[in-house]
Amino acid sequence: MPTPLAPETRGFFCNWASARLPIRRRIFARWAVLWAGIMPTLTPIASGAEPGVAVYRTMMPECGPSSFAVALGPSLGLSYDPGRGGVNYVWQGEFVDLDPTWRTKINKPAELRGTIVYRESVRYPLRLGGTGRPPRFEFRGYVLLPGAVEFHYLLDGVFVREEIRASASGRGLVRRFQVDDPAGPWSYAIDPQPKVNVSSPEGAWNEARTALTAPRSREFSLHLELEASRP
């Protein structure tokens, strides 16, 4: 397992800075005089609303086109798919290396610097209002909040806000779904996850343990916690 990085944002920025080194070097060769003058006075700027949360729309491996890479802290990353809808996967380790998406003319997906610990199935997993069929997903954007990102989308025309933040333990994350006018119960289909414990304070597993369901309400949340003992 990759070593978690400390302190908070440094690890992330180490990647960021090194990812950009080749470009910097090139620039340096040309504009050495100019750059030498200003380089030391500037420091990297915080990338999210708060240290530790960063949201990049990019090319992610094994995801739909133009998926998100979200850093939720020093050692937890998540890919969100705005095409299919939902989380592609969660990984533990450093953030992604974005350099392959920028380095050459024919760019390549970002490289994961960690181990995938959670993955969702091909179909969009959230069902609203008791309909069994997959809803039509339409991405509407996102908001950077202190320590969190909130994705916005329509599910069969119903506006959903999904806030994602690191859990208090730092070894997992909390996804909070909100609608203004709930039409019925919530249901979230999940494949077996050997490395992550999935639970919902509002909901319960169905008998087959294939979905978490919760009664009709404006809010529903999923807690994803890394299993303590397993690698």
Partner: protein, 633 residues
Amino acid sequence: MNRQLAFLIALLAAGAKAEPYRLEEITLPAAMSPEISAVEFSPTGRLVVANRHGEIWSCDPARRDWVRFAYGLHEPMGLYVAADHDVYVGQRPELTRVRDTTGDGVADRYETVNAEWGITDNWHEFVFGPRRDHEGNFVLAIGLPDTAGAFNQLHSRTPIDLGKIAREAKPSAGPWQGWVFKVTPAGKLVPWASGFRQAAGVGVSPEGEIFVTDQQGDYIAASPLIHVRRGRFYGHPASLKWAVELDGRKPAPDQLEAMRTPPTVVLPHGSIGGSPGDPVWDTTGGRFGPFAGQVFIGDFTKLISRVDLELVAGEYQGACFPFLRDATGVAAILSSNGANNLTVPAGTDGQKYFRDAPPLQGTRLRQGNMRLGFAPDGSLYLGQTTRGWASGDGLQRLVWTGETPVEIHTMRLTPRGFALGFTTPMDRAQLAQKNSYRVERFRYLYHSAGGSPRVDQSNIAVVEASVSADGRRADLVLAELDPGYIYQLEVDGLRSSAGVPVANPLAYYTVNRLHSGRTFTGPLSRPLFAAVPRPARDRANTGEGRRVYLTFCVACHQADGRGGGLPGFAAADFVGEKTRLGKGDDELLGTIASGIEAKGMPSFGQVLSQEDRQDVLAFLREAFGTRAANTPP
């Protein structure tokens, strides 16, 4: 060589007088990637730029107090700055409104305005714009992808039609690729015009008309400036796949020619650059010199060009001129004889320079001038990005020093030739001499090959040259004036009444129509579409198979053939799971053709020909695997 001589004279003359334009370097913060992909000014006069790493930065142009407004966007190539805290950005997947709603100067809301076009993460699917028209619509363009890179088919947002990808270098994989389109203020996509290859510059004229530049390549003989009118087709047929009125029918080559609207102003390849970016209109009211109302176009080579448009028989056409060129590497440029105009030659330092005419002295213009923006103070900002095609990124600006440049100001069509306007009074005796002007004409082919040689090329005699009393206008009568040609004008020796030579003594006028309304009716001197014979084959071609794999399979199966991730979802691991390629050819070919829908392996029967499927399987075996179970070793 008289060209070298002319250059030396220009150099000496240029040394003797003040330069009309000064090029300045804009230093960027070290934390900012310098691959500048958008340059705009906010209503309060702040400079706002985007870069290809997905950031938006802004500053007061006088104080250069840079702040990062937004980050994490997917290769933004255009901005519309509604207010300092409210910016619309065209990124690969969508048009997004980025806002600061907390008042800290940093964006917190990224709202999707429209995302109705197809994307596959292919490297060449660039999105350009937005510009805003007079009705408040956003104008954007999407380029065609390129089969030199992969197409990601996972969870596609819009129906992706892969049918043609295997056969064309530049296909249109998803809706509206190869189109110019509008997004209404309410967020609806309205397709506007088709036939574009890679419209890397989008502009809206002060009159509210849409113009784009396109890139030389297949079907696009030389990069043009195009006046985009609703419903028209401008040449590259891949985009026609989505034309509702064609309903999937593929027009025959001669129909394409009839459907096509020819380019408004051709920017001859090599002479007027190689790859144009933004067209911007000089709306500075004279603060940028004597070219108010004209169009400036940045180019990937070390060139900024200038276009003078006019309406002739109801349609725009006009002339283009070099405007600013770099001073170094001239020897390399001059030593190129210009015989092959399909490529812009590189100089001895490996950089590509503008060719054909002596350069303006004393500049250090970089390459990659894809983004231009006029500042409130009338200076012209040049945003540069070169990734993978060359090197040198950043931001420069051009300031008019107050010195009037000696230039051909306008070149307008008359019933018998051209009227030339000059920025300053010229030597009247010279203007009146017919041999002060060298006129040639030529045309380009419209065909599927990349670029075109100049064809039907001939010298045209100037039969009369008359001069206005103030020495600022010359009227040329030509021996032959016909539509369908590009007229090249060279005035190397011309000087102003003060003895200063014309800085850029070269112009090209695209004559699509005459004042009478007469247009080109053909025929072209060569057939349009020469059939490319397919080589005979006696066995599967692993080289072709590799291309197919990198285009269609690599997104899931990965470059190393190991697929990945958790069982049940991820693509097969050809290397680790020996049973995969252990199966026989027939079985595997069947799987590739019909897919395994439940597991997420798509069917390629409709997408790839049988030969392609054999090729890709041969490649799989060669690259990752064991031999077929039923094939003797």
